[in-house]
Symmetry: C2
Subunit: 139 residues, 2 copies
Amino acid sequence: MKPDHFHVTSECTMVNEILSRVGDKWTVLVVSYLGNGAMRFNELRRTVSGISQKMLTTTLRGLERDGFVTRTIFPTIPPRVEYELTDLGRELLVPVRALGAWAVSNHDRVLAARNRFDAAQGAVSEPFGPERNLSEAAE
Amino acid sequence: MKPDHFHVTSECTMVNEILSRVGDKWTVLVVSYLGNGAMRFNELRRTVSGISQKMLTTTLRGLERDGFVTRTIFPTIPPRVEYELTDLGRELLVPVRALGAWAVSNHDRVLAARNRFDAAQGAVSEPFGPERNLSEAAE
DNA sequence: CGGCATCCATTCCGATACTG
DNA sequence: CAGTATCGGAATGGATGCCG
Protein backbone atom coordinates (compact mmCIF):
# COMPACT_ATOMS: atom_id res chain seq x y z
CA MET A 1 0.00 0.00 0.00
CA LYS A 2 0.98 3.67 0.04
CA PRO A 3 3.72 4.96 2.36
CA ASP A 4 1.74 7.95 3.67
CA HIS A 5 -1.94 7.64 4.62
CA PHE A 6 -2.59 7.62 8.33
CA HIS A 7 -5.53 5.48 9.31
CA VAL A 8 -8.68 7.16 8.10
CA THR A 9 -11.01 5.81 10.71
CA SER A 10 -11.61 7.00 14.23
CA GLU A 11 -8.95 9.68 13.89
CA CYS A 12 -11.24 11.43 11.47
CA THR A 13 -13.77 11.89 14.21
CA MET A 14 -11.30 14.08 16.06
CA VAL A 15 -10.16 15.81 12.90
CA ASN A 16 -13.72 16.52 11.97
CA GLU A 17 -14.43 17.85 15.46
CA ILE A 18 -11.62 20.35 15.15
CA LEU A 19 -12.45 21.22 11.59
CA SER A 20 -16.09 21.71 12.41
CA ARG A 21 -15.18 24.09 15.18
CA VAL A 22 -12.69 25.93 13.04
CA GLY A 23 -14.65 25.74 9.81
CA ASP A 24 -17.73 27.60 10.90
CA LYS A 25 -18.49 31.11 9.82
CA TRP A 26 -16.70 33.16 12.46
CA THR A 27 -14.27 31.09 14.50
CA VAL A 28 -11.22 31.68 12.34
CA LEU A 29 -11.84 35.40 12.22
CA VAL A 30 -12.19 35.64 15.97
CA VAL A 31 -9.22 33.40 16.72
CA SER A 32 -7.08 35.27 14.21
CA TYR A 33 -7.85 38.63 15.76
CA LEU A 34 -7.28 37.25 19.23
CA GLY A 35 -3.94 36.02 17.96
CA ASN A 36 -2.86 39.66 18.06
CA GLY A 37 -3.60 39.97 21.74
CA ALA A 38 -6.41 40.08 24.29
CA MET A 39 -9.57 41.94 23.30
CA ARG A 40 -12.80 43.05 24.92
CA PHE A 41 -16.23 41.92 23.78
CA ASN A 42 -17.36 45.02 21.93
CA GLU A 43 -13.87 45.59 20.68
CA LEU A 44 -14.08 42.23 18.95
CA ARG A 45 -17.59 43.02 17.82
CA ARG A 46 -16.43 46.18 16.09
CA THR A 47 -13.30 44.56 14.69
CA VAL A 48 -14.90 41.49 13.19
CA SER A 49 -17.54 43.75 11.74
CA GLY A 50 -20.46 41.83 10.37
CA ILE A 51 -20.85 39.40 13.23
CA SER A 52 -23.96 39.62 15.38
CA GLN A 53 -23.46 39.71 19.11
CA LYS A 54 -25.28 36.44 19.33
CA MET A 55 -22.78 34.69 17.09
CA LEU A 56 -19.87 36.39 18.81
CA THR A 57 -21.11 35.09 22.13
CA THR A 58 -21.75 31.64 20.73
CA THR A 59 -18.35 31.50 19.05
CA LEU A 60 -16.51 32.72 22.12
CA ARG A 61 -18.37 30.29 24.39
CA GLY A 62 -17.49 27.41 22.13
CA LEU A 63 -13.85 28.43 22.04
CA GLU A 64 -13.82 28.84 25.79
CA ARG A 65 -15.43 25.45 26.28
CA ASP A 66 -12.79 23.74 24.18
CA GLY A 67 -10.01 25.53 26.01
CA PHE A 68 -8.91 27.81 23.20
CA VAL A 69 -9.68 31.14 24.87
CA THR A 70 -9.96 32.44 28.40
CA ARG A 71 -12.66 34.79 29.59
CA THR A 72 -11.61 37.26 32.24
CA ILE A 73 -14.15 39.47 33.99
CA PHE A 74 -13.09 42.75 35.61
CA PRO A 75 -15.92 43.64 38.00
CA THR A 76 -15.71 47.36 37.34
CA ILE A 77 -18.37 49.85 36.34
CA PRO A 78 -19.01 49.45 33.51
CA PRO A 79 -18.11 45.76 33.46
CA ARG A 80 -15.10 44.76 31.42
CA VAL A 81 -14.60 41.31 29.90
CA GLU A 82 -11.45 40.34 28.11
CA TYR A 83 -10.90 37.36 25.85
CA GLU A 84 -7.47 35.94 25.21
CA LEU A 85 -6.03 32.89 23.51
CA THR A 86 -4.75 30.13 25.76
CA ASP A 87 -1.58 28.22 24.98
CA LEU A 88 -3.76 25.61 23.32
CA GLY A 89 -5.39 28.33 21.25
CA ARG A 90 -2.05 29.75 20.16
CA GLU A 91 -0.86 26.28 19.22
CA LEU A 92 -4.00 25.76 17.19
CA LEU A 93 -3.26 28.99 15.43
CA VAL A 94 -0.15 27.48 13.87
CA PRO A 95 -1.75 24.82 11.65
CA VAL A 96 -4.75 27.07 11.09
CA ARG A 97 -2.53 29.80 9.75
CA ALA A 98 -0.69 27.27 7.64
CA LEU A 99 -3.98 26.38 6.06
CA GLY A 100 -4.78 30.07 5.83
CA ALA A 101 -1.51 30.75 4.05
CA TRP A 102 -2.28 27.95 1.63
CA ALA A 103 -5.71 29.42 1.02
CA VAL A 104 -4.28 32.83 0.24
CA SER A 105 -1.60 31.39 -2.03
CA ASN A 106 -3.95 29.17 -3.98
CA HIS A 107 -7.08 31.27 -3.97
CA ASP A 108 -6.62 32.16 -7.61
CA ARG A 109 -6.20 28.56 -8.68
CA VAL A 110 -9.41 27.64 -6.92
CA LEU A 111 -11.29 30.52 -8.50
CA ALA A 112 -9.94 29.61 -11.92
CA ALA A 113 -11.04 26.00 -11.51
CA ARG A 114 -14.41 27.19 -10.31
CA ASN A 115 -14.94 29.43 -13.33
CA ARG A 116 -13.80 26.66 -15.66
CA PHE A 117 -16.24 24.25 -14.06
CA ASP A 118 -19.16 26.69 -14.11
CA ALA A 119 -18.46 27.61 -17.73
CA ALA A 120 -18.47 23.93 -18.70
CA GLN A 121 -21.73 23.36 -16.85
CA GLY A 122 -23.35 26.39 -18.47
CA ALA A 123 -22.21 25.20 -21.89
CA VAL A 124 -24.20 21.97 -21.82
CA SER A 125 -27.43 23.40 -20.50
CA GLU A 126 -27.29 26.69 -22.35
CA PRO A 127 -25.59 26.15 -25.74
CA PHE A 128 -26.50 29.58 -27.06
CA GLY A 129 -25.33 31.91 -24.33
CA PRO A 130 -23.16 30.43 -21.61
CA GLU A 131 -21.96 33.84 -20.54
CA ARG A 132 -22.68 34.01 -16.84
CA ASN A 133 -21.59 36.33 -14.13
CA LEU A 134 -18.55 34.71 -12.56
CA SER A 135 -19.64 35.55 -9.06
CA GLU A 136 -23.19 34.23 -9.24
CA ALA A 137 -22.46 30.76 -7.99
CA ALA A 138 -19.65 31.76 -5.68
CA GLU A 139 -21.96 33.02 -2.99
CA MET B 1 5.59 35.16 21.09
CA LYS B 2 3.73 37.02 18.41
CA PRO B 3 5.78 38.63 15.69
CA ASP B 4 3.43 37.10 13.11
CA HIS B 5 -0.15 38.28 12.45
CA PHE B 6 -0.98 38.58 8.78
CA HIS B 7 -3.64 41.09 7.91
CA VAL B 8 -6.96 39.80 9.10
CA THR B 9 -9.14 41.43 6.52
CA SER B 10 -9.92 40.30 3.01
CA GLU B 11 -7.56 37.35 3.31
CA CYS B 12 -10.00 35.86 5.76
CA THR B 13 -12.59 35.66 3.04
CA MET B 14 -10.38 33.24 1.16
CA VAL B 15 -9.39 31.40 4.32
CA ASN B 16 -12.99 31.05 5.29
CA GLU B 17 -13.87 29.81 1.81
CA ILE B 18 -11.30 27.05 2.08
CA LEU B 19 -12.19 26.25 5.66
CA SER B 20 -15.88 26.14 4.87
CA ARG B 21 -15.24 23.69 2.06
CA VAL B 22 -12.91 21.61 4.20
CA GLY B 23 -14.84 21.97 7.45
CA ASP B 24 -18.08 20.41 6.36
CA LYS B 25 -19.16 16.99 7.43
CA TRP B 26 -17.59 14.77 4.77
CA THR B 27 -14.98 16.60 2.72
CA VAL B 28 -11.98 15.71 4.85
CA LEU B 29 -12.97 12.06 4.93
CA VAL B 30 -13.38 11.87 1.18
CA VAL B 31 -10.21 13.81 0.42
CA SER B 32 -8.24 11.72 2.90
CA TYR B 33 -9.36 8.48 1.34
CA LEU B 34 -8.70 9.81 -2.14
CA GLY B 35 -5.23 10.68 -0.90
CA ASN B 36 -4.53 6.96 -1.04
CA GLY B 37 -5.37 6.75 -4.73
CA ALA B 38 -8.22 6.93 -7.23
CA MET B 39 -11.52 5.41 -6.21
CA ARG B 40 -14.88 4.65 -7.79
CA PHE B 41 -18.15 6.11 -6.59
CA ASN B 42 -19.59 3.14 -4.75
CA GLU B 43 -16.15 2.19 -3.56
CA LEU B 44 -15.98 5.56 -1.81
CA ARG B 45 -19.54 5.10 -0.63
CA ARG B 46 -18.67 1.82 1.05
CA THR B 47 -15.37 3.09 2.42
CA VAL B 48 -16.65 6.29 3.95
CA SER B 49 -19.48 4.29 5.45
CA GLY B 50 -22.18 6.51 6.84
CA ILE B 51 -22.36 8.98 4.01
CA SER B 52 -25.49 9.12 1.90
CA GLN B 53 -25.05 9.06 -1.85
CA LYS B 54 -26.55 12.52 -2.00
CA MET B 55 -23.85 13.93 0.25
CA LEU B 56 -21.16 11.96 -1.53
CA THR B 57 -22.31 13.40 -4.83
CA THR B 58 -22.56 16.90 -3.39
CA THR B 59 -19.14 16.66 -1.77
CA LEU B 60 -17.47 15.29 -4.89
CA ARG B 61 -19.11 17.91 -7.11
CA GLY B 62 -17.90 20.68 -4.86
CA LEU B 63 -14.39 19.29 -4.82
CA GLU B 64 -14.48 18.87 -8.57
CA ARG B 65 -15.71 22.43 -9.03
CA ASP B 66 -12.88 23.84 -6.96
CA GLY B 67 -10.33 21.78 -8.84
CA PHE B 68 -9.43 19.38 -6.05
CA VAL B 69 -10.56 16.17 -7.71
CA THR B 70 -11.03 14.92 -11.25
CA ARG B 71 -13.96 12.86 -12.39
CA THR B 72 -13.21 10.33 -15.10
CA ILE B 73 -15.98 8.40 -16.80
CA PHE B 74 -15.29 5.05 -18.45
CA PRO B 75 -18.24 4.43 -20.80
CA THR B 76 -18.33 0.71 -20.19
CA ILE B 77 -21.19 -1.56 -19.17
CA PRO B 78 -21.76 -1.11 -16.34
CA PRO B 79 -20.50 2.48 -16.29
CA ARG B 80 -17.40 3.18 -14.27
CA VAL B 81 -16.57 6.57 -12.73
CA GLU B 82 -13.30 7.23 -10.98
CA TYR B 83 -12.42 10.11 -8.71
CA GLU B 84 -8.83 11.16 -8.11
CA LEU B 85 -7.08 14.05 -6.41
CA THR B 86 -5.56 16.68 -8.66
CA ASP B 87 -2.19 18.26 -7.91
CA LEU B 88 -4.09 21.06 -6.21
CA GLY B 89 -5.97 18.51 -4.15
CA ARG B 90 -2.78 16.75 -3.08
CA GLU B 91 -1.24 20.08 -2.14
CA LEU B 92 -4.28 20.91 -0.08
CA LEU B 93 -3.87 17.60 1.66
CA VAL B 94 -0.61 18.78 3.21
CA PRO B 95 -1.93 21.61 5.44
CA VAL B 96 -5.14 19.68 6.02
CA ARG B 97 -3.20 16.72 7.34
CA ALA B 98 -1.10 19.05 9.46
CA LEU B 99 -4.29 20.27 11.07
CA GLY B 100 -5.45 16.69 11.29
CA ALA B 101 -2.27 15.69 13.05
CA TRP B 102 -2.73 18.56 15.47
CA ALA B 103 -6.29 17.44 16.11
CA VAL B 104 -5.19 13.89 16.87
CA SER B 105 -2.36 15.07 19.13
CA ASN B 106 -4.47 17.51 21.10
CA HIS B 107 -7.78 15.74 21.14
CA ASP B 108 -7.38 14.81 24.78
CA ARG B 109 -6.60 18.36 25.80
CA VAL B 110 -9.72 19.61 24.09
CA LEU B 111 -11.85 16.93 25.69
CA ALA B 112 -10.37 17.72 29.11
CA ALA B 113 -11.10 21.42 28.68
CA ARG B 114 -14.60 20.59 27.55
CA ASN B 115 -15.30 18.42 30.57
CA ARG B 116 -13.86 21.04 32.89
CA PHE B 117 -16.06 23.72 31.32
CA ASP B 118 -19.20 21.60 31.42
CA ALA B 119 -18.56 20.62 35.01
CA ALA B 120 -18.15 24.28 35.97
CA GLN B 121 -21.36 25.20 34.18
CA GLY B 122 -23.28 22.39 35.83
CA ALA B 123 -21.94 23.46 39.22
CA VAL B 124 -23.47 26.91 39.15
CA SER B 125 -26.90 25.91 37.88
CA GLU B 126 -27.12 22.64 39.76
CA PRO B 127 -25.31 23.00 43.11
CA PHE B 128 -26.56 19.70 44.49
CA GLY B 129 -25.78 17.24 41.73
CA PRO B 130 -23.51 18.42 38.96
CA GLU B 131 -22.83 14.84 37.91
CA ARG B 132 -23.56 14.75 34.20
CA ASN B 133 -22.70 12.31 31.49
CA LEU B 134 -19.50 13.60 29.94
CA SER B 135 -20.68 12.84 26.43
CA GLU B 136 -24.08 14.52 26.57
CA ALA B 137 -22.99 17.90 25.33
CA ALA B 138 -20.22 16.65 23.08
CA GLU B 139 -22.63 15.71 20.33
C1' DC C 1 -23.40 1.36 -11.42
C1' DG C 2 -23.70 6.18 -10.85
C1' DG C 3 -26.33 9.33 -10.46
C1' DC C 4 -30.56 13.26 -9.88
C1' DA C 5 -35.05 15.02 -7.72
C1' DT C 6 -37.88 15.48 -3.93
C1' DC C 7 -39.35 15.75 0.73
C1' DC C 8 -38.28 16.38 5.46
C1' DA C 9 -35.66 17.09 9.95
C1' DT C 10 -32.09 19.54 12.00
C1' DT C 11 -28.86 23.03 12.58
C1' DC C 12 -26.96 27.57 11.73
C1' DC C 13 -27.26 32.23 11.80
C1' DG C 14 -29.20 37.04 11.81
C1' DA C 15 -32.53 40.48 13.66
C1' DT C 16 -34.75 42.11 17.45
C1' DA C 17 -35.92 42.93 22.17
C1' DC C 18 -34.82 42.85 26.95
C1' DT C 19 -31.54 42.57 31.36
C1' DG C 20 -27.89 43.66 35.02
C1' DC D 1 -20.75 47.25 28.44
C1' DA D 2 -21.73 42.57 28.11
C1' DG D 3 -24.58 39.78 27.75
C1' DT D 4 -29.53 36.44 27.47
C1' DA D 5 -33.95 35.03 25.08
C1' DT D 6 -36.79 34.31 21.26
C1' DC D 7 -38.24 34.18 16.48
C1' DG D 8 -37.82 33.18 11.65
C1' DG D 9 -35.30 32.33 7.49
C1' DA D 10 -31.51 29.99 5.25
C1' DA D 11 -28.46 26.35 4.75
C1' DT D 12 -27.16 21.61 5.76
C1' DG D 13 -27.79 16.88 5.62
C1' DG D 14 -30.56 12.31 5.57
C1' DA D 15 -34.17 9.07 3.38
C1' DT D 16 -36.51 7.67 -0.42
C1' DG D 17 -37.76 6.92 -5.22
C1' DC D 18 -36.72 7.19 -10.16
C1' DC D 19 -33.63 6.95 -14.30
C1' DG D 20 -29.95 5.93 -18.00
